[in-house]
Symmetry: C2
Subunit: 263 residues, 2 copies
């Protein structure tokens, strides 16, 4: 939990009271159900994932796991360290090869492969330059995994250009979506009958949510967790994380900055 | 770099122009010097580090390493996976043992130990429940490392309760500092002649900067990187990260939320 100490005494006391109070006050049946079981979360990783696409939402999920039973599987081609450093790729099909091996390489552990990942309730898909490299290598492992888990998952959420991966998997067909505004051209021609929303911090469909770039994942995840569990503990942890979320899904100054207000 | 694609063509072009323009327009000698060499960054990790304390600032540093030469060492007691899940600890010296082994455990790779870490220009110290466990085990490895690297580093920055670690190391003596507002009681009696600032998003001293909790690290890091390199590329990457930073170091609604406006 977020670097608390003595305030935990107060918090634990509050939790004990709240756990009884909240359960009887205004929670939906779905929220009660979520709180009563262990939620299995899967987070996709690949070489060149965007760090904050993962750890923005994951900080909130980590903090939530203090209050509610959750498990986390970090899922990639192989178990072990996965680097955020972008692998070799081309900027576009006609472009020169990009060698970003000079960038720093923070590494995160993948605990499962696409083959060994457990049954999932929630699946999270980050963006990052790496998904460009995968696409150029005709590697559809992530898309295939998304398709294979679509029915069993309760929700699938993407951050940033993870939306492009979702579109390539087909699960955005007939749905609305948004993506990173600095890379908005990537949405062209991807998926079938996808309504790309150029001005949106995030977009909610029935079971598929997509956010704009990088930091937008935290705003989407706050809205999601409140919907999923009810707001009491989620608001408490946001105050501990000292993050003031943007709560209007249509707030998107970056669509203006990157000139994609009009598609 | 933040999940861009074709916009990189534009960006690269802009960089080539900017690199020549910026270097001759308004950069300080220090900023020019930083841009002209390889900056060695060290990030401390320990079991129970707070994920966003690390990956908030690290996303910005990672993105910055697209523009400027940097190296990253992630430093802990041992190399290999370091978990964010809090280890066993007590909430306070008289309190019951806390077993948070039910929380999810994202793991990040430490590339160096305190003994093997390279010479550092910048040293970053996160918070998290883990530093409470270290203190209770009388483990001063992190404090000792900070002391040993104080002279060689150009800057030392802490996020969240990392400020408590800095205070215990002695390097905040005679300096001003802030820390996570949800755990403000932890600042009591730590360090000598430390001016703890209860309402501050972050606090800057000569070479020691400290931020408030968790997400505040991103706001501090934005201010720091602009100071360190000049604003042009840093502003570009912030737009790509789609994070709207809080730029007033005195902005601190969480000091009100957590009732520490008055010490």
């Amino acid at each position: 939990m977020v670097c608390l100490a003595m305030s935990w005494v107060k918090t634990l006391g509050a939790i004990l009271v709240a756990a009884q109070v909240v359960s009887s006050q205004g929670l939906t049946d779905a929220q009660k159900a979520h709180a009563s079981k262990t939620i299995s979360v899967g987070y996709i990783l690949f070489p060149g994932f965007e760090p904050l696409d993962v750890f923005g939402p994951l900080e909130l999920i980590f903090s939530t796991s203090f209050y509610y039973n959750m498990t986390l599987a970090t899922i990639s081609h192989e178990v072990g360290p996965i680097t955020a450093r972008p692998p070799p790729h081309r900027m576009d099909s006609a472009g020169p090869p990009m060698d970003l091996s000079y960038m720093i390489n923070p590494q995160v552990i993948a605990t499962h492969t696409f083959a060994t990942a457990p049954k999932l309730d929630l699946l999270l898909v980050p963006g990052g330059t790496g998904n460009l490299a995968l696409a150029q290598a005709n590697d559809t492992s992530v898309e295939d995994f998304i398709v294979s888990r679509f029915n069993e998952t309760e929700y699938i959420l993407s951050v940033c250009t993870g939306a492009i991966t979702l579109a390539r998997s087909g699960i955005l067909d007939g749905r609305r979506a948004t993506s990173n505004k600095g890379a908005w051209v990537e949405t062209n021609g991807v998926g079938n009958n996808v309504t790309w929303v150029p001005s949106a911090r995030w977009v909610e469909n029935d079971k598929v949510w997509t956010s704009s770039g990088v930091a937008a994942g935290m705003d989407m995840m706050y809205a999601f967790l409140k919907m999923y569990y009810g707001e009491e503990h989620i608001n408490t942890l946001m105050n501990a994380v000292e993050y003031a979320p943007h709560t209007d899904a249509s707030w998107d100054p970056f669509s203006v900055v990157h000139n994609v207000s009009f598609q």
